[in-house]
């Protein structure tokens, strides 16, 4: 790869809502610049995780260097830093944007701008990035470019003459986008002769190369063999390799100010080379590190347990390994009477939780069960005993020790067609949300703002929002503050024994309904036992709901067909396998599936 002067480098990102065509656009840019050979071209090249392709989302930020020969005849190095689009990964977006000087804003010409996109564009503008607005899918019959352009003008003050009309699918507008990248985005301006300062914007762990940091060099130069220093952690090393992304690693001898690439540090712990740290030279270190990132704190907590107890050590190992690639989740050992030994994990959001669980299951071949998601509560103890932070209902002290409980709230914004205003208002207030105001994006679409308890949001707000608006509404939220609330612990008792995994912290007014609902669901899910099994929901010592699973009456196999003992045995073995997968609560055997089903369904 020939060296490209700093003046011909462009670092950019793509901001888009899910399904608005970001990955397809990235694919087209890769093709148009011959970055990926046609025969190797798959769709969603940058989304290399199976999970990403299946869900059509980007989970990890990625980077790729495109060499583009512009109309002026010169070759430009365009670094595309791909970012996740989901609200759970907002922190990844902000990090990636900091490594860029511009961003392509992709908006579906028939859908218009969405909540997430709004938030990300505001962020990019705050960072001083040049925005290149692109209306995608303009060749679809439902496209309304005029309307979406006025939306951009009104909500983001983006002049319509800057907008590029495109269809990533059919290749319309791709060359205009490439030229706009060259013409509109400024070249990076870090001094080449200053001491090295490079920002780590992501990292992953490689068995052979150790921690691999994704960096944007802000100032100075980094050569192969130069000893480096992580200014935050103090860790020192001589990198094993430097290089670009194409999107696979392409080793180079040198990375200079303005460039985006990777350093294979050889370090064994991600903690030594954290995202947000500044890389400098050991021999002539910089005086000050670059401003780092705010560490993303987990918002949603849940217990993860192996389906079979013997997988516990394997789960620990898997969590440790996965954590090397995703330092944004937390985990600590915990145990549950119903589920055995497991880990209390903290996630950035529900999708993040789902993804971590799926990656653990797929990449490490584990079968897991997750307890009901919870958030972090502040519990003020009485008698001046101070404050307790809990993220697990089991940790909640008994009510007579508690002065008050505070729960986290978020500021949520929902972008929706105006026809759903009533529906969304109803849903949000039903979830204890407080309406904060509303603005029209154009005559058909609005942004609604709410304050809403996070606990309500993580139950099923997003699913409900999607289903009640036929998928038209989009959601974005940021943490706001803690507020006092009348919260209680709801316990579920099976045959008199509390099932700790099903305990929840819940608003007093919701307890009755939720308790009844959980008990009746469990009644359907717990197979009949040899004896009658009561299922109760209780707050403290008060039973608020009760159901009964009747005793099993008969379980016999059919006639044995012509001496076919084999079949009979197989059927028995199936029953036996079923029994082995059961968890015991007191003397009651409950299949894992029952917990899963209860834990997965909403509490309404």
């Amino acid at each position: 790869m020939s060296t490209i002067p700093q003046s011909r480098l462009r670092n950019f990102s793509i901001i888009a809502h899910i399904d608005h065509g970001k990955s397809t656009l990235a694919d087209r840019l890769l093709e148009a610049t011959n970055t990926v050979e046609a025969r190797l071209m798959t769709s969603q090249v940058l989304d290399s995780m199976d999970l990403e392709r299946e869900k059509g989302i980007t989970i990890k930020a990625r980077a790729v260097r495109l060499d583009y020969v512009a109309k002026d005849g010169l070759t430009y190095g365009l670094n595309l830093i791909d970012t996740p689009g989901h609200v759970d990964f907002a922190y990844e977006v902000s990090r990636s944007l900091q490594a860029c000087d511009g961003a392509i804003l992709v908006v579906d010409a028939s859908q218009g701008i969405e909540a997430q996109t709004l938030a990300n564009v505001h962020l990019a503008m705050k960072l001083g990035l040049v925005i290149i607005p692109v209306l995608n899918k303009i060749d679809l019959p439902a496209a309304e470019p005029e309307m979406v352009m006025s939306e951009l003008e009104e909500s983001l003050a983006i002049p319509r003459e800057e907008v590029i009309l495109a269809s990533a699918k059919s290749g319309i507008g791709i060359s205009e986008i490439l030229e706009a990248l060259v013409a509109r985005i400024p070249a990076p301006n870090g001094a080449l002769d200053a001491p090295l300062r490079a920002l780590v914007f992501d990292s992953h762990y490689d068995t052979y190369k150790g921690v691999v940091n994704y960096i944007r060099v802000q100032e100075g130069r980094l050569k192969t063999g130069d000893p480096i220093l992580m200014m935050g952690s103090g860790a020192a090393c001589v990198p094993v390799e430097l290089g670009y992304f194409r999107p696979q690693h392409v080793p180079v001898q040198e990375l200079v100010a303005g460039e985006v690439g990777y350093i294979a540090t050889g370090l064994k712990s991600v903690r030594d080379a954290r995202v947000g740290d500044t890389v400098t030279s050991q021999t002539s270190p910089a005086a000050e590190p670059l401003p780092g990132y705010q560490v993303a704190l987990p918002l949603v907590f849940a217990g993860l347990y192996p389906l079979s107890g013997e997988d516990y050590p394997a789960l620990r190992e898997a969590l440790e390994k996965l954590h090397l690639n995703d330092a944004s989740f937390t985990f600590e050992a915990e145990s549950s009477a119903a589920l055995g030994f497991g880990f209390r994990c903290g996630f950035l959001g529900l999708l993040h939780m789902e993804i971590v669980q799926e990656r653990l299951e797929r990449e490490f071949n584990l079968q897991l069960i997750a307890s009901a998601p919870s958030c972090k509560y502040q519990v003020m103890l009485n008698g001046g005993k101070g404050e307790l932070l809990i993220n697990n209902p089991a940790q909640l002290p008994s009510p007579n020790h508690i002065d008050e409980i505070r729960e986290p709230w978020v500021s949520a914004s929902v972008v929706t067609p105006a026809t759903y205003i009533g529906t969304i208002m109803e849903l949000s207030t039903d979830k204890r949300g407080i309406f904060d105001g509303m603005e029209y994006l154009d005559e058909k679409r609005v942004v609604m703002r709410f304050q809403i308890p996070l606990a309500e949001l993580i139950v099923d707000y997003f699913d409900q929002l999607k289903s009640r608006t036929q998928g038209y509404a989009s959601l974005d939220y940021v943490e706001s503050e803690y507020r006092v609330a009348p919260l209680v612990k709801l316990d579920i008792l099976v045959n008199g024994e509390p099932v700790d995994a099903l305990s929840t912290i819940i608003h007093r007014d919701r307890a009755q309904g939720s308790g009844r609902n959980l008990a009746s669901k469990l009644k359907e899910l717990i197979p009949r036992q040899m004896f009658e099994v009561p299922i109760q929901a209780a707050i403290g010592g008060t039973i608020i709901a009760r159901e009964t699973v009747k005793a099993v009456r008969k379980n016999v196999l059919a006639k044995c067909y012509g001496g076919d003992i084999t079949r009979k045995k197989k059927l028995l073995e199936k029953q036996k396998e079923g029994k082995e997968r059961m968890k015991r609560v007191g003397s009651v055997e409950i299949p894992q599936e029952a917990f899963l089903a209860v834990l997965r369904t909403d509490a309404d």
Partner: protein
């Protein structure tokens, strides 16, 4: 102990006859019906030629493995069981020829039990006198229920009167042991109607009654067997029927048997079987005692004391191989030795009223399961042999709960 067990010569032979007048929607047996069973395109002729070849091939194999018939190590069969399907549809002379072929190649001991399954319909029960002359000693009549509307629901061709007529015909033909097969937990049949049907069955005065709870297999077969696919119509029927079954009512019916049948002179000897003294099924007892039983015919299952083997259920594949003079395709389950074999033996033995020797079961490592069965009221001490345990009435209804802890 089964460890290191050697294959044993067969004590019984199962012969599968896959033909029926019509298919019953609840049935999982290996069966062909309609044009394949009757008329110009009937498969009967090809089947009969093939089954005779299989008898020869299996017998030759037994000769090689266990010595020729009549030698000390190779005793003649104690039982022959013609099951189906509807074996009573076989033309009498072909039935006689088949039994002769078995007698010739496997031997039939003096007093051997030769069972023929029969359907009660006038055009299905066959020539009973001829069957007795051919060597049949025991007739098992697929009555299912003696209630006109319940029979119609089940898609059966016969009426309760046909059952009465078949029993009378069998008696006058000189059948020495008569059994009637019944079902419980039938869709939409109230308990009282079912109990009345049972009383009618008792009034027939037969020697043996089998009563099975109707088990409808829904959805795809999960055991991965080589079985024939369930026709779409039958699947829909089963879904409807399953919804009209009632676990509580079914349990009541099975409990009712426990008081009603002994009062009528039938002793309980196996989970689903009752007989007057001397009339327990000897052939089925071989299965429950894990004895060696040979098998011929499509979908038939054999056991030699060590290995379970079965023929393909596919009539075409089965017949084609035999036409070539080869053994039919099928499968087998590797040697059942060690704990798995002992567990299987224990499960089978526990089905029987005689139960198992408690100390032996504990010694074999099933102490926990036995104790669980006792503490949950599924097992109890045998009434006449304090060293043995047997299923209680509750245990008979819930036997799988116990067996799944053993298997």
């Amino acid at each position: 102990m089964i460890v290191g067990a050697q294959p044993a010569p067969p004590r019984g032979l199962y012969l599968h006859v896959p033909f029926c007048r019509s298919l019953c929607p609840y049935c999982d047996f290996v069966v062909v019906a309609g044009a394949a069973a009757f008329g110009p395109r009937s498969r009967m002729g090809g089947y009969l030629n093939a089954i005779e070849k299989e008898i020869d091939l299996r017998a030759t194999l037994a000769d090689k493995t266990f010595g020729t018939l009549g030698s000390a190590s190779r005793q003649p069969l104690e039982t022959l069981y013609l099951g189906g399907g509807t074996p009573s549809l076989l033309p009498t002379e072909r039935l006689a020829a088949l039994i002769e072929r078995v007698r010739d190649r496997f031997g039939l001991a003096p007093g051997a039990e030769v069972t023929l399954e029969a359907n009660p319909g006038a055009d299905e029960r066959g020539d009973l006198r001829g069957s007795v002359q051919a060597g049949v000693t025991r007739l098992s009549i697929g009555a299912q229920v003696l209630d006109t509307s319940a029979l119609r629901t089940l898609g059966r061709r016969h009426t309760p009167d046909d059952v009465v007529a078949t029993v009378a015909a069998a008696r006058s033909a000189g059948v020495t042991s008569l059994s009637v097969d019944l079902l419980a937990d039938l869709p939409d049949l109230p308990f009282d109607a079912w109990a009345a049907s049972l009383d009618r069955a008792i009034a027939l005065g037969v020697d043996h009654l089998s009563v099975y709870a109707l088990t409808l297999s829904l959805g795809p077969d999960e055991t991965g067997d080589d079985r024939l696919a369930t026709p779409a119509g039958a699947v829909a029927w089963r879904e409807r029927a399953a919804a009209a079954q009632d676990e509580e009512r079914g349990a009541q019916e099975l409990e009712h048997l426990n008081s009603r049948l002994p009062a009528a002179g039938y002793d309980w000897y196996e989970i689903s079987n009752w007989a007057t003294p001397g009339h327990a099924s000897r052939h089925n007892t071989l299965y429950w005692e894990r004895a060696s039983v040979a098998a011929v015919g499509p979908g038939a299952h054999a056991f030699d004391g060590v290995t379970r083997r079965w023929n393909s259920a596919n009539l075409d594949a089965w017949e084609a191989a035999l036409q070539q003079g080869e053994l039919p395709p099928g499968g087998e389950l590797a040697a059942e030795s060690g704990t798995a074999g002992v567990a299987e033996g224990l499960v089978l033995a526990l089905r029987m009223a005689r139960g198992v020797e408690r100390d032996a079961a504990v010694r074999d490592g099933f102490g926990d399961a036995i104790a669980w069965g006792e503490s949950n009221g599924l097992l109890t001490q045998h009434p006449t042999d304090a060293t043995r345990v047997q299923l209680t009435l509750r245990g008979r209804l819930l036997s799988n709960e116990l067996f799944a802890r053993i298997a």
